[in-house]
């Protein structure tokens, strides 16, 4: 059976250090404003503003809107589910940027073309980890084959993550635990 690759984001582990994002920029030498991976604060949830994070890159959707709307067929889906964009075809029309619910495709103002995360497919093909996974000091990100991987308590969405029904993203989440807080204003 074909693989279905996705990112597993362990929010319980993630401490929002942005190392994944900068490691990605470092290896691919991205323009400053271009963010293949972004670390988002999870707001208004778990009663802990700005202390929970989800690190997101391309969600390598099963029904990617980017691919559907692209007029020059720059997008394709590999057999293992990784969504690729062929930048040589891109005409910079930004349709994909408008269509993606996750704001994944990034516009490179120098090249006047779009680019995005390709799940380091060349590394995966060599049996290596993606750059973000290898760099994460918390081991909070991993790549999984959704056809094989199963663990209790895995979620397909978190607060702030747009409705997964639209494009069927392959990203999965482990939600944060909350320890005991003894605060001075809630003592006793």
């Amino acid at each position: 059976m074909a693989k279905k690759m996705g990112f597993l984001v362990n929010v319980d582990r993630c401490f929002g250090c942005h190392t994944c994002e900068m490691a990605c920029k470092n290896v691919y030498q991205l323009e400053p404003e271009v963010r293949w991976r972004k670390v988002y604060e999870i707001k208004e949830e778990y009663n802990l503003p700005e202390r929970s994070f989800m690190s997101l890159a391309c969600n390598h959707c099963e029904d990617p809107e980017c691919k559907r709307v692209c007029p020059v067929k720059a997008y394709s889906i590999r057999e293992d589910g990784i969504v690729l964009q062929d930048q040589s075809r891109c005409i910079g029309c930004k349709m994909c940027i408008m269509a993606c619910p996750y704001e994944v495709p990034q516009f490179n103002t120098k090249l006047k073309k779009v680019e995005k995360c390709h799940m380091c497919f060349e590394r995966l093909d060599k049996g290596q980890e993606t750059v973000c996974v290898a760099a994460c000091p918390a081991e909070a990100i991993s790549t999984i084959d959704l056809e094989e991987y199963y663990q209790n308590g895995i979620l397909d969405s978190l607060p702030g993550f747009p409705d997964p029904d639209i494009t069927k993203p392959t990203t999965r989440f482990i939600k944060p635990r909350t320890g005991i807080q003894v605060r001075r204003d809630n003592n006793g």
């Binding site: 582990r13 401490f15 929002g16 250090c17 942005h18 190392t19 994002e21 900068m22 490691a23 920029k25 470092n26 290896v27 030498q29 400053p32 404003e33 963010r35 670390v39 802990l48 503003p49 700005e50 202390r51 929970s52 290898a134 760099a135 994460c136 000091p137 918390a138 081991e139 944060p176 320890g179 005991i180 807080q181 003894v182 605060r183 001075r184 204003d185 003592n187 006793g188």
Partner: protein, 680 residues
Amino acid sequence: MVLQDKITRHVCPRNCYDTCGILASVRNGRIIDVQGDPKHGYTRGKLCAKGYCYIRRVYSPERINQPLRQLGRGTGRWQEISWDEALNIVCEKILTIKDRYGSTLPICLNKYSGNFGLMNFALEGLFNSLGPTTQVLGSPCWSAGLDAQMFDFGANINSDPEQLERSKLIILWGVNPAWTAVHSLPYIFAAQKNGAKVITIDPYFSETAKKGDWYIQIKPGQDGSLALALAKIILENGEADIGFLEKHTSGWNLFKEYLGSLHLEELSENCGVQKHVLMELADLISSSPPVFIWAGFGMQRYVNGGQNVRAIDALGAITGNIGRSGGGVHYASLSTWKLFNYNFLNSSYKNRFLNINNFAHEISGAQSPPVKMLWIANRNLFRQDADQKELVRALKDIELVITIDQFHNETTYYSDIILPTTTFFEEMDIVPGYWHHWIALNEQAISPIAEARSDLEIAKSVSGKLNNLRAGTCSFPEEMDEKYFLDREFSPETYDILGIDHWSLLENGPVKADIPTVSWENKKFNTPSGKFEFYSETAENIRLPALPILKQPSRCGEKYQLRLLNPHSQHCINSQFRNIDWLQTIKQESRIYIHPITANMKNIKNGDSVKIFNDNGEFFIKAYLAEATPKDTIIVLQEPGDMTQNLNKLFQGVTTDMGNKCTGNPGLAIGENFVDISIS
């Protein structure tokens, strides 16, 4: 010219726990990416967000490419000059001053922790080759805690922090490694996976606290009350490790008596932690050996900071965790730091030392002779120092201000001459750390960018120019290269401890120093008594309390009732990294954390623009209401955004109780800063 592709080893020289091993890939003489060095056993092939951005620092278009002269301080009218011109200006001034005063004492160096490489000390070496000069003594940072541990243990050492994994209870006391030591988190997570619990004690709910099992919000500066309360309960519950206490400690009976005299209600009231919580924590500590306490730097930046660390040490001792694998009280280690000779610091002259934490006053107060030339290096003095107003005033009498840096900042603004310097990718060095036990070599990956010169090269060029102008002025060995200077930093004993016979072998990878994995395992302490000293005569002799008794932090005055804390932010180290474009894309807007009730009293709403002020100055920032902030405290992260305002202007420079013993002067008690807020 075709340059060979290569991968070079590096060490991040920042003032940080992790001191990471780095690999740089170099192609055609240019770094194309940086990676963590997998041979570094503590950081294990990973960097932090800042580390992965280093290329943007090396090749930043904002780098200062050649020596600059400012035509009038603060005018921003910079003139590019050649190295020869710059050296002429500097050296002629040195000679003029020397002739006028018959001494080199009016020449002053203020250098601190921008880079911790051995070769960065070449600047002290230069000064020590001139004659008697004026230099700064002390540290704004960790002084009180170092002294506290010196009194209790007799040395500043720690267990290998990899020992965190073996702990059953980790207490992160006033430290936020999720932001300031990310490579320690995997060890903490591993311990948690093995069933350990993690308690974070902090005045504010940090990211580290979020990852723990318990978060205890403490009143700022009341760590001593909490530690003593826990010690008292543990003793009275019959859970103290009497065997350890009777055999390996000194002054136990006196301390026991003291604990007996304390009132739990009072301690609980002091630290803001209720009695039943104290009981539960004490139980947890007694029942979960080994207990690893990591005492952070922030906690000791109070007028009672050293005393608080001593109380925490005492808690470690009373529970028998000192010298235990996976246990202990860990603050900072000078073990690997002290492996080197620091030849540059040797001086045959009688230098004049100014207190680094009272610099503004002491530089203007220095007489016969006064200070006439100020050289600033490895430091953004006009951002990070206390009492900025006085500092600016003190400059009036200084005839020449020279700054070595890579970028313009608050300090270059007040400088006459800037000498552009290399990043650590452009020089060779050894950088010891103060937490893990690894030593690594920093190789030179690329030629210096533009006309940048390393601190060592600058020292050599100044020496050369001085002797050219007047033979015999400077004894700095100007012909020697960094290999010579590195050679003399190593002794046979050091090579033994590192298990190599020459430092160049570090090209093959970092090595771990052969120093005790578990500190104080043999229970032989370096104190005068040879025991853990509850009662320290060393402390008593310099008029500090002999016992770890309770001391109070400063109280707020009538006028300014809110304590202002400014812990380190996530993506800067002091003012370093703020101008890195990649990091700017993830930067959060600077904000002041206020408890909603406090905000309500001041009619401040979320998102309002707020003025923080006291008699020293004012600071404008956006309000962020968060219940996890204490009501009597406001928090602004040390996020030096732009250069238009500086939070340190509000801090006059109160100092800590301890620091003289280990660093020559007390530290800065930056937690003791009181302000008011209003809508701006």
